[in-house]
């Protein structure tokens, strides 16, 4: 039995609370916006490290993005991952879901012999949650989505996880290898281990692969490999609201509100 190989797909996103839009040009203002590891991916990394603690093996980080992602991958190494791979090439830019999942799947193939691919529930900027299923499809393997917990049986080579459904939960099993998406906030991600920092931040710790390294089909990557195109931006219409202030002492406000509520809810 080979040691367990876990890959965590990790994306770096602009901090959502810092993103602003220039309402004149409808362009996103990126200057001065800080980035962070997509918070749900920290839950995926935590699940990976828990699996490693329990079953042994190794955890590799995989990300597609610009060279600036490198330092964030080092943070992941410092938290506890063993390896980090950055898929970076100007040719990867402008990728939609089809091209992104193709590229990540190529990276996973190049890494060879994976048992579990862990993803976050969704990315804070894309927020589509479509990437895990797409990776599983390119690799033609099973998937478990929105898990809050995962156990492995390495003799039977299956993964078994729990996920919430309406009014309850279900426990589902698929053969390994498989792709898993992890429910946001289902665990408490561990912090940076400062003792690991010198190692994590040393040269050549993050391995970068470009399109040629991946032996990728150039027709399938980046803008070229993306069938969808953004044709316009529009300002979301803000609903007109009354913006009426109710003022007074707490008691007066409560009285006015009660009267208002009775009015509003007449007939409901």
């Amino acid at each position: 039995m080979h040691p367990l190989n876990i890959i965590v797909c990790l994306k770096v996103v602009p901090k959502s609370e810092e993103i602003m839009v220039n309402t004149e040009t409808m362009a996103i203002i990126r200057e001065g916006v800080r980035s962070e590891i997509n918070p749900p991916d920290m839950n995926a990394l935590e699940m990976a490290l828990t699996l490693k603690d329990r079953y042994g093996g190794q955890v590799a980080l995989l990300s597609m993005g610009p060279a600036s992602f490198e330092n964030y991958l080092r943070v992941g190494l410092s938290v506890g991952a063993d390896h980090a791979y950055l898929l970076s090439d100007p040719l990867f830019a402008g990728a939609d879901t089809l091209a992104t999942t193709y590229t990540l799947a190529q990276g996973i193939i190049k890494l060879g012999g994976v048992d579990v691919v862990l993803c976050g529930e969704e990315s804070a900027d894309g927020a589509t949650g479509q990437v895990p299923a797409g990776i599983a499809e390119w690799l033609n393997i099973g998937q478990l989505s929105m898990l809050s917990n995962l156990e492995l049986d390495l003799t039977r080579r299956v993964g078994r996880g729990r996920r919430d459904i309406k009014g309850g939960y279900e426990i589902v099993e698929v053969p390994l290898p498989c792709v898993v998406s992890v429910q946001t906030a289902c665990n408490e991600p561990r912090f940076i281990n400062f003792e690991r920092n010198p190692w994590a931040f040393s040269d050549a710790r993050v391995i970068t692969w470009n399109a040629a390294d991946l032996e990728a089909n150039f027709e399938c990557i980046g803008l070229r490999g993306s069938p969808t195109i953004v044709t316009g931006l529009a300002e979301a219409d803000d609903r007109d609201r009354r913006h009426e202030y109710i003022e007074g002492t707490a008691h007066e406000i409560a009285q006015k509100l009660a009267a208002l509520l009775e009015n509003l809810l007449e007939g409901v």
Partner: protein
């Protein structure tokens, strides 16, 4: 660019909606998509086809017709009794390749997203996730998907020229339900497909679904709490009961375990259209606001006069919720 498995030239001008169901009932989001699909179909003069997979489910076709389907494409098989991603992907893929519809819509539920994500890759086509609006260009038949972008406030319009089908997922609550009265035609078609026991590898070990089913989307009144109520959902529950409503929440209290995830409102929670939403101790982040934008009336209570929630409120109360709400409860009693 790699082309999709069928092209614009081979497509059938039709809108397909994938129907999801649990315990013998169609999901609301499926009916909402049929309602919206009907409008698009009428504009284009195209048929609206509902795709239904399962076992012993013919009864559900009637409801699909009630919400506007011209035709139901019905795939019944013992192996389709439970949703398995591999079984359902395979069968839907086979059916789509036979019929080659121009547009395919799915609900952005857990299973709907998984299915859409896999199908789009298998068909080598694009997928627009979590659309908040759909239009079809009457001249070209190109589907224009409206997706809310980065940090809100901006809508991106996304379309696809040469790849088919044009796939999109839609969140529950985004479109309104509309029953129709005149039904153009009510045909059930049973497409051929192939599925074998060896194709299925997902195993359900245990399932418990008997707990409370919380569904905020149907409630006329929502009392929503944010981080500012410090986990005191008991207080909001009392208020909600007096108003015949449900309690909802922003994400932080859900993440902190104060309240069930089903009660989360917003971009990653539910989108609601109640008559009234009362927002208590909520700052008004875009991710939350999208979930209440369709409320008829919004009341906000926040102690910070600058909180963005007031930009989205009809009635604004700058005060401490812990003082106002108990007194309001007394006043209502």
């Amino acid at each position: 660019m790699v082309s999709s498995l069928f092209s614009v030239d081979d497509q059938a001008q039709a809108i397909w909606v994938y129907l999801e169901h649990t315990d013998g009932n169609l999901e609301n989001v499926s009916l909402e998509m049929l309602s919206e699909g009907r409008v698009l179909a009428d504009q284009m003069g195209w048929p609206l086809v509902a795709l239904l997979l399962g076992h012993g489910i013919e009864d559900m076709c009637q409801e699909a017709f009630t919400y506007g389907a011209d035709q139901v494409s019905l795939a019944e098989h013992k192996l389709l009794e439970d949703f398995t991603i591999e079984g359902y992907t395979s069968v839907v893929y086979q059916i789509l390749l036979q019929s080659k519809p121009s547009v395919v819509l799915l609900g952005a539920t857990h299973n709907g997203r998984d299915l859409a994500g896999r199908l789009a890759v298998r068909l080598r086509t694009g997928l627009n996730a979590d659309c908040t609006g759909l239009r079809i260009n009457p001249d070209t038949g190109v589907l224009i998907c409206e997706v809310s972008g980065f940090g809100g406030g901006v809508l991106a319009l996304i379309e696809m020229q040469s790849h088919r089908p044009q796939m999109a997922t839609v969140r529950p609550g985004v479109f309104s339900l509309r029953e129709i009265t005149a039904v153009p035609s009510e045909t059930i078609v049973r497409p051929s497909f192939n599925i074998q026991p060896k194709d299925i590898y997902t195993k359900y070990i245990e399932r418990f679904g008997g707990g409370d089913r919380i569904d905020l989307t149907g409630s006329p009144v929502l009392v929503a709490g944010g981080r500012g109520i410090d986990g005191d959902f008991q207080m909001l529950e009392t208020l909600a009961q007096l108003l015949n409503g449900e309690v909802g929440a922003t994400r932080p209290p859900v993440d902190d375990g104060y309240i069930e995830r089903e009660r989360q409102i917003g971009q990653t929670g539910v989108v609601c259209s109640p008559k009234l939403a009362v927002c208590c101790g909520i700052s008004g982040a875009f991710h939350f606001v999208v979930g209440i934008e369709k409320a008829d009336t919004v009341i906000a209570i926040n102690k910070d006069a600058k909180a963005p929630i007031f930009d989205h409120a009809d009635y604004c109360i700058v005060a401490d919720v812990k003082q106002i709400v108990p007194q309001l409860i007394d006043a209502l009693k």
